[in-house]
């Protein structure tokens, strides 16, 4: 009985995964190999050409999504690491206040926040309208409907998911370790580079994982902030599912996206070293 206890305790989560992950994934995998249409029905034909067709038509959008997701992740890392560092080491007694402020915008819905950006960045809005009025910007300057707006929106929307894990990792760094490094004649930079940074890498890994995946798959930012050539793969999947009722193509695209992300993450994990990854995963 005792040997079984851990398995019994794990049972609910296995059932959860089974019902809500494995079954839908299997059904989706099945649909991705079918042919037909929504009116006459779809039938299993093991049509692997769904994948090649979908990729042939939408490789541009898929690559663009990975690029945007990657750019946004790098931007979040550049912005987020110093913030996490500052809160962890300089935050003092107000740490929780800063963290709360960081999370505050998340009480508002994702879509609404993105629409607010649209409002703020509008050509003649509060920001650019004023600057144009002062003659600081050319009349036809605009940010909306550009790549910059979409990547910026992604960066803004997912930033806390980068900061929090890094913060957690940095918070755990024992200040005495840094002192020890300095006792051993490490400069501040050297102490950071050889002690703090490696210790925080699991947090960075978790942060990248939690931001790169949803940023790449996100359809909202491209729809609200993008222009004529900023369509991301999430928009395509949405259109294929809901407008065209082309379930096979949509499923094939979803699986392709998932596969590409998994491969990317695997390579990233290898580059970073498996130990750190396991440590991060165990948290």
């Amino acid at each position: 009985m005792r040997r079984l206890t851990p398995y019994l305790l794990a049972l609910p989560s296995w059932m959860w995964l089974g019902i809500f992950l494995v079954v839908p994934m299997a059904a989706m995998a099945s649909v991705s190999l079918q042919t037909g249409n929504a009116i006459d029905g779809f039938a299993m034909t093991f049509s692997f050409s769904n994948y090649s067709d979908a990729l042939g038509r939408y490789s541009t959008q898929l690559l663009r999504s990975l690029l945007y997701g990657g750019l946004a992740t790098v931007a979040m890392l550049v912005i987020g690491y110093p913030v996490a560092y500052w809160i962890a080491f300089k935050g003092g007694t107000r740490k929780s206040v800063y963290l709360f402020l960081l999370l505050l915008p998340f009480f508002v819905s994702f879509v609404l926040r993105t629409i607010s950006w649209n409002f703020l960045l509008s050509d003649n809005g509060i920001l650019f309208g004023t600057l144009k009025g002062w003659g600081l910007l050319p009349e036809d300057f605009h940010v909306l409907a550009t790549t910059f707006a979409v990547v910026g929106g992604l960066t803004y929307n997912f930033l806390p998911f980068m900061i929090l894990p890094i913060y957690v990792a940095l918070e755990r760094v024992d200040p005495r370790v840094i002192e020890a490094a300095q006792d051993l004649y490490a400069t501040r930079t050297a102490a950071f580079r050889r002690v703090v940074l490696p210790l925080s890498l699991p947090g960075v890994f978790a942060g990248v994982l939690m931001t790169f995946v949803p940023a790449t798959a996100d359809p909202i930012n491209a729809q609200i902030l993008g222009g004529t050539a900023n369509t991301m793969i999430g928009n395509i999947i949405q259109t294929e599912y809901l407008t065209n009722l082309n379930y096979p193509t949509a499923s094939a695209l979803s699986f392709t996206l998932m596969a590409v992300l998994l491969v990317g993450i695997f390579i990233y994990a290898r580059a970073l070293g498996t130990e750190n990854v396991l440590e991060a995963a165990a948290r």
């Binding site: 929504a38 029905g41 003649n124 605009h142 004529t228 407008t243």
Partner: protein, 395 residues
């Protein structure tokens, strides 16, 4: 350890389950048109339940829900009113699996625009055929145009809720010219300042108007030509963005200067004092209709019919239209609003007079002559039509 029989079964059992999953297709539901007798039998069995659930689009009912309250007082039928429909495709995408599985949607009336999704609803047997014996107000008061619609001849499944026109809106603060032609949307002068709609039907229609093609009679070759025209427009950088409902904010803010637009949106902005104008282009515009239908498996079909019919009383239709400000299917509304304007005072009087005279709410015969409906498409045609235009809007 040698592999035991049980292991073997376990492994094959798993793969059998996998195969079973792989074999399960998504069933088609294409329904033959119901026989008249069957429809009669169906309605003969239904009774009033004293309750109705109405699913509609936002801003399609006054906030105080007065028309519905009066309906409750008049008939004793209580109502639930839900603004759950934002987009036809999205709504259909969500409803389809539920109705396909034979489960009720939970609504007794839903409102859908004529177009591919409504066609799917009818083709798949998701719409309950209506009993016209129970729609006397509709018979008496609906305009003739709203009884002769290509997408639902004889109003078998739907009755109109409201209609609107797709035309061009422009911001007079930035555009000095009087826009009359669809060519303005293709004019390099407005590079980067033109908004187009993301919907394949809407954008396809407009490109066909520009080419002098009647969308209702268009062929695959016409769609391709229209696609080429739109592609050139995009590649020349004329289009700023392919919009959904958010185009109207963009026009009002000046992010785009002119855009494809829906009449009611523009009219509401004009009343709010914003510098936007609406035109039906001389080449043509689209008229669409949002229709009420009773989804398959609805719990209270009789009550739903009663509500539908109630809304066709001119007084009720007038009250609704005063708020919605689109085209009402009840022509008598114009006179009722004119009467009301006579006794009203100040700002209300002005607003009512504007409404009565507005070609956006009461298009003239000349306006109607320029208006065309969506292209009716079969599923096979749709699989050609959609990619042509989506490859432009979702590049």
């Amino acid at each position: 350890m040698p592999r035991s029989r049980r292991d073997f079964f376990r492994v094959t059992g798993f793969s059998a389950a996998g195969l079973a999953l792989a074999a399960c297709g998504v069933q088609g539901q294409k329904a033959a048109p119901p026989k008249a007798d069957a429809v009669k039998d169906y309605w003969a069995k239904q009774t009033k339940h004293g309750k109705v659930v109405f699913a509609n689009w936002p801003e399609y009912m006054p906030e105080d829900q007065a028309p519905l309250k009066k309906f409750q007082q008049a008939t004793g039928i209580s109502y639930e009113y839900k603004e759950v429909i934002q987009e036809n495709a999205e709504f259909f995408g969500k409803a389809d699996p539920v109705l396909r599985a034979g489960q009720p949607l939970g609504y007794d009336i839903v409102v859908m625009t004529n177009g591919v999704q409504l066609q799917h609803m009818i083709d798949l047997g998701y719409a309950t055929p209506l009993d016209h014996a129970q729609l006397p107000n509709f018979e008496a008061n609906a305009g003739q145009k709203y009884k002769e619609r290509a997408y639902d001849p004889g109003n078998k499944y739907t009755v109109p809720y409201t209609s609107g026109v797709t035309g061009i809106a422009y911001n007079t603060k930035y555009v000095d010219d009087d826009i009359t032609s669809i060519e303005a949307l293709f004019d390099p002068k407005y590079k980067g300042r033109v908004g187009m709609m993301g919907d394949a039907q809407e954008i396809g229609n407009f490109a066909m108007f520009a080419l002098g093609i009647d969308p209702e009679k268009s062929t695959e070759a016409d769609w391709k030509k229209a696609g080429e025209k739109l592609k050139a427009q995009r590649d020349d950088g004329i289009v700023r963005k392919y919009y959904d409902q958010s185009y109207i904010d963009a026009v009002a803010k000046g992010d785009v200067w002119l855009s494809m637009a829906w009449s009611g949106d523009v009219f509401q902005r004009q009343l709010a004092g914003e510098p936007v104008k609406f035109v039906v282009p001389e080449e043509g515009g689209t008229i669409w209709t949002d229709n009420m239908l009773i989804p398959k498996g609805a719990a209270n079909p009789v009550d739903a019919l009663m509500l539908m019919d109630y809304l066709y009383q001119p007084v009720v239709a007038a009250e609704l239209d005063e708020f919605i400000q689109y085209v009402t299917p009840v022509p008598a509304v114009q006179d009722l609003l004119r009467e009301k304007a006579k006794t009203a005072k100040g700002k209300d009087k002005k607003a009512l007079e504007d409404m009565v005279d507005s070609p956006l709410m009461f298009p003239s015969e000349a306006d109607y002559a320029k208006l065309r409906s969506y292209t009716p498409l079969t599923t096979q045609q749709e699989q050609v039509f959609n990619p042509i235009f989506q490859s432009i809007t979702q590049a």
